[in-house]
């Protein structure tokens, strides 16, 4: 009996510690922006809006959030359109060595945006005059996300019956019509999943924009966060917390919206 009670106590203590580990930073994130002089402690806020005023007055803070929107939405649109077409083709056309190609793509994708590819990518961007350009960054980020996106979407496409498309084909629909009228509506939850995944990925990406965009007016929020220091070289906690809150809200809202509208259906990467 005592052993059971002790076990329970131990279990709940462990759960409490784990919970605290994850909730305290979140608590800090929602309280610190409303506190006059925030420290690393979680304090009851005095509900000042001075910190928000400071962020508004910061010359690059709000524009950087807009830059993040441009980069992530731009990449997500490209990723969804291109991955949908590629995944459809790969799912429906029998090519020799198709599966090998898919696995190679997946493997490469972890390298392309990974650190190993930084130098060649940087040089490529310089050569193509795409350095310090948001378009260039969008293309590179898209390239990095595409393989995994194709891989996931192909799974969605594989699980939709072929007879819908064949029926449309017999009625005379062209391949693009089939994709628009039949395939896209059927895999819409999959497309939503990929779009959210791409947005979240780009939104939180620091390294690529940091390397490829030197003009501070083009930099996204993730990079600007890194510049929020006081004159003394200390992290500016009031700015950081406030900006951090503003930075996270859009992603949370997007997630809630899409999840409510489509419901997430993540199939595993590999079937059979």
């Amino acid at each position: 009996m005592t052993r059971f009670v002790l076990g329970r106590i131990g279990f709940y203590t462990l759960v409490a510690v784990l919970l605290a580990f994850f909730t305290i930073p979140l608590l800090w994130l929602v309280t610190a922006p409303f506190t006059s002089d925030p420290t690393y402690e979680v304090k009851v806020p005095d509900f000042t809006l001075d910190n928000f005023r400071a962020v508004l007055e910061h010359p690059y803070a709000l524009p950087s959030l807009w830059n993040s929107v441009v980069l992530s939405v731009g990449s997500a649109v490209l990723v969804v359109v291109m991955a949908a077409l590629a995944a459809y083709a790969l799912s429906r056309v029998r090519l020799p060595g198709r599966d090998a190609l898919l696995y190679a793509l997946l493997l490469l994708s972890s390298i392309i945006t990974g650190t190993a590819a930084m130098v060649p990518l940087f040089q490529l961007a310089v050569e193509l005059n795409l350095i310090d350009s948001q378009l260039g960054l969008i293309l590179i980020l898209t390239g990095g996300l595409l393989p995994a996106a194709i891989f996931m979407l192909k799974d969605f496409m594989d699980s939709t019956p072929k007879s819908y498309e064949e029926s449309a084909r017999v009625f005379g629909a062209s391949p693009l019509q089939i994709v628009r009228h039949v395939v896209v509506p059927l895999v819409r939850p999959g497309l939503a999943t990929i779009a959210v995944w791409a947005v979240a990925n780009v939104w939180g990406n620091f390294l690529m924009p940091y390397l490829l965009l030197s003009d501070v007016e083009k930099q996204p929020a993730a990079v600007i966060t890194y510049t929020l220091y006081t004159e003394g070289g200390q992290a500016n906690l009031s700015m950081l917390s406030t900006f951090g809150l503003l930075y996270s809200i859009p992603v949370v809202l997007m997630y809630l919206f899409v999840s409510k509208k489509y419901g997430f259906r993540f199939h595993g990467g590999i079937k059979r």
Partner: protein, 354 residues
């Protein structure tokens, strides 16, 4: 509306499976044609090759006066009903029926009007706003038919459209489909593995085996005079008696019994040839008394067929089956005699009808 002609049509799948083997077939304009055969014999492949969903390895498909062998499915002007109906789950019934017209760039109002008209004809008026997922199997089948009717194609191709329905609904749908085809007069190829369906609905039918057509004819020709032992054993709700025997003058020696040569084979089987004697259980007269030219043996099994019974006799070391009307069925173990009808019995030599 147009005739369909297949010339030496061959389909070899990438794995090397020869699903269609130099198949010739002519279906006249307006005919209701049934394709029947065991699973895997190539019925679906044949239909899909006519539709253009599979490219022919050899031979030609001619619809009307056009050779369509190299054309895309959409250019062949045929309409197909798939076994699972393939109704688009994200569109309501109206949009599903109107989809072929949408592809033909008919204006929205016009195509919805047409969908409503066709839907009403098939008794779907109160279901037009539903999604396929909210319909019963029979209703889905009618939506699939309506969608095909909205196209005004040269030919209709049906791949087992009734197999997803329960037995009762299937009988209704059978009559309905037959009537509809009569009214529309569109050439229709209908795949089924249910022989009762083929016999009941078709103007003419083909029996396939392993990529070949084994017999083409009207349902009564195929039922009464199967051209070979394969068709003979495949067609019929109770399997035909097929018994090995030898010709002896104007009698046949079959299963140790002396049987008179059937009318259809009179004078055409030389003395001493090995033959297969075929007679349907329905064309046997059963009696408890010995009769001249009858198979005699012991009753082994009696199966209830509803309005009649199927009696299995042990005759020597083979079995002979006869259908007995209700009320006069024997008991297991009785001596019984089954007399074949001379005008209905058949003789096969080397597997082919004599």
């Amino acid at each position: 509306m147009a005739a369909i002609e297949l010339r030496g049509l061959t389909k070899v799948y990438p794995g090397g499976v020869k699903a269609l083997d130099a198949l010739d077939l002519a279906i006249p304009d307006g005919e209701f044609f049934a394709l029947l055969g065991p699973s895997g014999c190539g019925k679906t492949t044949l239909l899909r090759t006519i539709a253009g969903l599979e490219t022919a390895t050899g031979g030609a498909v001619v619809i009307g006066d056009r050779d369509v062998t190299g054309l895309q499915p959409g250019a062949r002007d045929v309409a197909m009903v798939f076994q699972d109906y393939a109704l688009f789950p994200h569109m309501d019934v109206t949009d599903n029926i109107a989809y072929p017209l949408r592809i033909k760039k008919v204006a929205k109002a016009a195509r919805h009007e047409k969908a409503a008209e066709v839907g009403a004809r098939l008794g779907l008026d109160h279901l037009m706003d539903r999604r396929p997922g909210q319909l019963s199997g029979g209703q889905q089948q009618r939506v699939a038919l309506a969608r095909v009717m909205a196209t005004q194609a040269q030919a209709y191709l049906f791949d087992e459209p009734l197999s997803n329905l329960d037995a009762r609904l299937r009988l209704e749908a059978r009559t309905f489909l037959k009537k509809l085809q009569r009214e529309l007069g569109v050439t229709t190829v209908f795949v089924t593995h249910d022989q009762a369906e083929a016999l009941a609905m078709a103007d003419r039918m083909a029996v396939m085996e392993a990529g070949h057509i084994r017999q083409i004819g009207t349902p009564s020709e195929v039922f009464q005079r199967p051209a070979n032992t394969f068709v003979a054993s495949f067609i019929g709700s109770t399997p035909m008696n097929l018994l090995d025997g030898v010709a002896r003058g104007d009698t046949l020696e079959v299963a140790g019994c002396k049987i008179r040569v059937p009318v259809s084979a009179e004078g055409r089987v030389p003395d001493g040839t090995a033959i297969v004697y075929g007679v349907r259980p329905e064309y046997m007269t059963y009696s408890a008394e010995p009769a001249d030219g009858a198979f005699g043996g012991k009753v082994a099994i009696v199966e209830n067929l509803g309005a009649s019974h199927l009696v299995t006799l042990d005759v020597g070391d083979v079995i002979v089956q006869a259908v007995v009307p209700e009320g006069s069925e024997p008991a297991v173990g009785d001596d019984g005699y089954a007399l074949p009808r001379r005008d209905r019995a058949l003789v096969y030599r080397d597997g082919e009808l004599v």
